[in-house]
C-alpha cells in the first residue's frame, strides 16, 4: 500500500508542477521553464536529503512514528477537507488544466527581465515547481521514514515521476479529463489512514489485524468523507428548494 500511496500522492502533485512548466515553456521558452524547474527540483531534493537522515538519526523509533504519523495526518486531512469541499460543490474542482491556463496567462503578462536569460520566467517555473514538489518530497519523506517503508515510498514516487514526465513529453499539455478531484480525495483518505496508523503505533496502541489496519481505516475515513459530502450537498440544495 505504501508504493501506491506514494505514487498516487506524488503523481497528482507532479501533474500540477508539470502544468506550470508547460505553461511557462509554451509562453517563454522551454529552456527557461526547465532551468527554473531543475533548480527547484535540486532545492527540494537537497532539503529532503538533509531532513531525512537528520530525522532518522535524531529520533527513537516510537517518536519517529509519531512524527511521521503527524506529518501524514497534516497532509492527509487537508487533502481530505479540500476533496470533500470539491466533491460537494463548495470549491472549484482540482484541475491541472486550469492551473496550466492560469500559469500561462501569468507567464504571458510577465515583463522580460535579463538579457538572453528570462529570469522572470525562470522564477515563475521555480516557485511553482518548488511548492508542488516540496509537498511530494515531504509526503515521500514521511511515508519512507517509517521502518521498512523507504524503498517502497521511493519506488512509488519514481514511478509517478516517470509517468508524469512521460505524459508531459508526449502530450505537451496537461490532461483535461483526469478525475483529479476524486484522485486527490482518495489520496487524502490513504494518507490519513497511514498517519493514524503510524501515530497509534508510535504511542504503543494496538490495532486489530495489525498490518491490515490501514485498509479498514481507509474504509472508515472514506465513509466519513462520503457522509460529509452528502450532508454538505443537502445543505447547499436546501435554500434552493425553499
Amino acid at each position: 500500500m505504501t508504493p501506491a500511496a506514494a505514487a498516487g500522492a506524488s503523481a497528482v502533485e507532479l501533474l500540477e508542477a508539470l502544468a506550470i512548466v508547460l505553461a511557462v515553456g509554451v509562453t517563454r521558452g522551454f529552456r527557461n521553464a526547465l532551468t527554473g524547474a531543475l533548480a527547484a527540483a535540486i532545492g527540494v531534493l537537497t532539503l529532503c536529503l538533509v531532513l531525512g537522515p537528520a530525522l532518522r538519526a535524531g529520533a527513537g523509533i516510537a517518536v519517529l512514528r509519531v512524527i511521521v504519523g503527524g506529518a501524514l495526518l497534516l497532509f492527509g486531512l487537508e487533502w481530505l477537507r479540500k476533496g470533500v469541499l470539491r466533491v460537494s460543490g463548495r470549491r472549484r474542482r482540482a484541475s491541472s488544466y486550469h492551473e496550466f491556463v492560469e500559469a500561462r496567462d501569468t507567464a504571458a503578462a510577465l515583463p522580460s527581465v535579463g538579457v538572453g536569460r528570462d529570469w522572470g520566467a525562470r522564477g515563475l517555473a521555480f516557485q511553482g515547481v518548488f511548492l508542488e514538489s516540496l509537498e511530494v518530497g515531504l509526503i515521500v519523506l514521511a511515508l519512507g521514514a517509517a521502518p521498512g517503508h523507504l524503498e517502497p515510498a521511493l519506488l512509488g514516487a519514481a514511478v509517478a515521476l516517470v509517468l508524469v514526465a512521460g505524459a508531459g513529453f508526449a502530450l505537451r499539455e496537461p490532461f483535461q479529463r483526469l478525475p483529479e478531484t476524486q484522485i486527490k480525495l482518495g489520496m487524502g483518505v490513504a494518507l490519513t489512514a497511514f498517519g493514524t496508523f503510524f501515530t497509534a503505533e508510535g504511542l504503543h496502541a494496538h490495532w486489530p489485524l495489525s498490518e491490515l489496519a490501514p485498509l479498514y481505516l481507509a474504509g472508515l475515513f472514506a465513509a466519513t468523507a462520503w457522509l460529509a459530502v452528502r450532508r454538505l450537498e443537502r445543505a447547499t440544495r436546501a435554500p434552493e428548494a425553499t
Partner: protein, 88 residues
Amino acid sequence: MTTLVKSVRRKILGETRMVPLGVATTVLLAYLARALLPDREWQTAGAFALAAAVIATLISALPADLRRPNNQPAVNQPDPNTTTRTNQ
C-alpha cells in the same frame, strides 16, 4: 520571497488553522491518555480513540453547516474554514 514563504507555510500547514490545531491536540491528548490510563486499556482502546479524534478534526475543519442540527446552511455568515482560493 515573502510570497514563497507564505505559500510554503500554506502547503505544509494547510489553509485553515483547524487541521494543524486538531492534529497537535490529538497527539497531545493521546500522550496524556497513555500516561493516565493503565497500559492494557490504552493498548486496547487507544488506537480507536485516536481514529475518532482524527475524524473529529476533519469534521471541525469542514464548514459549520455540516454540524448543524437538521443540516441547515449558515445564512449571511461567511465560513472561516472555507476559502474561495484556487484549486491547489
